[in-house]
């Protein structure tokens, strides 16, 4: 297992917060999980990883047999990085432990967007770090293909504590697809993932995260982004497989003029899944913009869909859209959109709707010759297919594939 260098101050703060409950979500007993004692071997060629693991990773959008459509790849199995590589110039991809050893300036980013003592999960990541990825686009470099990263959990009762850092230097463009998944069994596990994004002046980052867990896994990601002048951060989140408990509320600060953040989330909760997912954006500089869109479907599980936009600078604009669909099987969707304005002239709005599929719509499609099942599937597919502006075509197609693969189970 890699040793991660960290400062005394962070460690002290983490120790003080080691028992601090999170503000949201059911409490997870950290003592129920263990770190992995095994250290899988490094794979220079990731296609050599075991076929069942590759299949699971593919379900989360991570392709290992053909890397030609990827500018870089990072794979972590349990608590150990097993592969990292780069295929395109101007991008760095490596285990975060390596980046900490290589760059002194990492201190400028390490726990700077996410507070180390936010809760016991962030504290635990600091106290028992199991690496994570470091992805950086160099100034002015625009990657064509996405970097892919996979955080894979295979062992029963595993606790995976990762800390990821993503930096898009000035004028760069970076596309990332992250797949987080488990082995094919239904072993319990806990994933704690801290991710810090730094989008510099004029840079653009699209980040697409596909979670594909199992019904016994608890997940507590802690993510934050800082977006500078004219920067764009586009974050897409897809969760269509069962998970025991997931709570996350990623946040982005637009600190530079005209900085833009867009969040799109597609959430599906079958019976037994408990999701508390939101997105938060603070518009702190003139002309900053945000759009937070979520689509939540329950087939028996529970979803809290949150959203928060705060505007505190002139000419900022934000919109929050939260739509929920309750399919057969019941379940609960609780939409909590929040807006906070601190200045005259800001423009913040939200719309939220929770309901079932309208019979009138089903019958409209049936009158065109679709069976009831086909009509319902078409409406559900339309509901979750959010048009994601700014996503490169290859990534858009992959996202579509991942959604399609999961739709079959949903139906």
């Amino acid at each position: 297992m890699s040793e991660v260098k960290t400062s005394r101050t962070h460690r002290d703060k983490a120790e003080a917060a080691a028992e601090k409950p999170a503000a949201l979500g059911q409490d997870v007993d950290l003592d129920s999980y263990v770190a992995s004692a095994e250290e899988p071997a490094y794979q220079a060629d990731p296609s050599g990883l075991p076929a069942p693991a590759k299949e699971q990773m593919l379900g989360a959008g991570v392709m290992l047999d053909d890397l030609s459509q990827r500018s870089g790849t990072y794979i972590q199995m349990d608590n150990t990085p097993v592969h990292s590589s780069v295929r395109e110039e101007g991008v760095e991809v490596m285990p975060v432990s390596q980046a900490l050893a290589k760059y002194d300036w990492m201190a400028d980013y390490w726990w700077q967007a996410v507070a180390v003592d936010a809760d016991k999960y962030t504290a635990n990541v600091e106290l028992g770090q199991h690496d994570g990825y470091f992805i950086r686009a160099l100034p002015g470099q625009k990657t064509v293909f996405p970097v892919q990263a996979c955080l894979y959990m295979s062992q029963a009762r595993l606790q995976q504590n990762v800390h990821n850092i993503v930096i898009a230097e000035e004028g760069s463009e970076l596309h990332i697809i992250t797949g987080c998944t488990t082995g094919s069994g239904n072993d319990p596990g806990l994933h704690l993932g801290v991710s810090e994004f730094y989008i510099k002046k004029g840079a653009k980052v699209t980040f697409t995260m596909i979670h594909s867990w199992n019904p016994e896994v608890a997940v507590r990601p802690r993510t934050a982004a800082v977006v500078e002048e004219d920067g764009l951060f586009l974050s897409n989140y897809v969760l269509m497989k069962p998970v025991h408990s997931l709570q996350m509320y990623p946040s982005a600060r637009c600190v530079g003029e005209r900085a833009t953040v867009r969040y799109n989330s597609i959430l599906v909760a079958p019976e037994g899944s408990s999701l508390d997912v939101g997105a938060r954006a603070t518009l702190e500089a003139k002309g900053a913009r945000t759009e937070i869109i979520s689509r939540a479907i329950t087939t028996g599980g529970s979803i809290i869909a949150r959203g928060y936009i705060e505007g505190s600078a002139p000419e900022v604009k934000g919109h929050l859209e939260c739509r929920g669909l309750i399919l057969e099987g019941g379940g609960t969707i609780h939409a909590i959109p929040e807006l906070k304005g601190n200045l005259a002239g800001i423009d913040l709005s939200h719309e939220a709707a929770v309901g079932k599929i309208a019979e009138e719509e089903v019958e409209y499609l049936m009158s065109r010759g679709l069976s009831r099942t086909e009509a319902t599937a078409t409406i559900v597919r339309g509901f979750i297919r959010v048009d994601i502006e700014g996503l490169p075509p290859t990534l858009g197609a992959e996202l579509e594939r991942a959604i399609e693969a999961s739709e079959k189970e949903l139906m």
Partner: protein, 248 residues
């Protein structure tokens, strides 16, 4: 052929249509006139098979088969199609998806593009179906879907309502194409039943037979232009009075 015999239809327990009988031969277009609330849309919905419209007496046969008990989608697949007066918005489902669904694998993207061009809806294909569409756009979109569906019986609910003059001509030509009006009468396969309140559509689409429906009954049957002339002269009130004299 469509054959409706002594049909009675109830909605939420209340009988709306009483003893409706009608026969449309292959390739024929018929027009149903009637004031608002007379039961015209109920008749189309009952022929199409919407579950809310319960047949309480009589029968509907299509292509020699009794379809009274068939479901909505079975009837659609058998060759019955309907253009809606006020179709619902289906969020997330694109116009293109709807047209593709209507084609049911019979065509490719090129056919969809041609239909979009023909109905002047090229810019609407990626939009959510009916979301923010104007009256004319809705009618054109409904016609585009029917042209893709290629039904043998087209049920058209007020195709001219809410449509400006320029669009009526286009809608009229699309209906004529759907009903194969450019073919010799004997070669036409598609039957049409058009509901109209104002009769304006008859300026663009020829029909063989007209009916007047009032209070859920067919009052009279005859030459559609003659019927329309009477309605224009005397209004629907006269038709209603006529029915009252005959049935009460």
């Amino acid at each position: 052929m469509l054959e409706i015999k002594h049909l009675a239809v109830a909605v939420e327990g209340r009988e709306i249509l009483h003893d409706v009988t009608m026969k449309i031969g292959v390739g024929e277009t018929h027009v149903l006139f009637g004031p608002n609330g007379s039961g015209k849309t109920t008749l189309l919905a009952a022929i199409m098979g919407f579950p809310k419209y319960k047949v309480t007496a009589g029968s509907i046969s299509f292509r020699g088969k009794n379809i009274t008990k068939l479901s909505l989608d079975e009837r659609a697949r058998l060759g019955i199609g309907m253009s809606f007066q006020r179709p619902p918005v289906v969020r997330g489902v694109k116009t293109r998806d709807m047209v593709a669904a209507c084609l049911r694998g019979r065509g490719d993207g090129e056919i969809i593009e041609r239909l979009a061009e023909k109905t002047d809806l090229t810019d609407f294909m990626e939009r959510e179906i009916n979301y923010g569409f104007s009256g004319g756009e809705i009618k054109r979109s409904e016609m585009m879907q029917l042209l893709a569906q290629k039904p043998e019986l087209a049920l058209l609910d007020e195709p001219e309502s809410g449509v400006d003059l320029e669009n009526i001509a286009l809608i009229g030509s699309l209906i004529n194409e759907l009903l194969e009006k450019d073919c010799p009468i004997v070669d036409r396969k598609c039957m049409g039943l058009i509901i109209t309140h104002t009769g304006h559509i008859l300026d663009y689409v020829d029909a063989r037979t007209g009916y007047v429906m009032c209070q859920g009954r067919i009052g009279c049957e005859g030459d559609p232009h003659e019927i329309l002339k009477n309605i224009k002269q005397k209004g629907y009130e006269e038709c209603t009075q006529c029915l009252v004299r005959r049935f009460h």
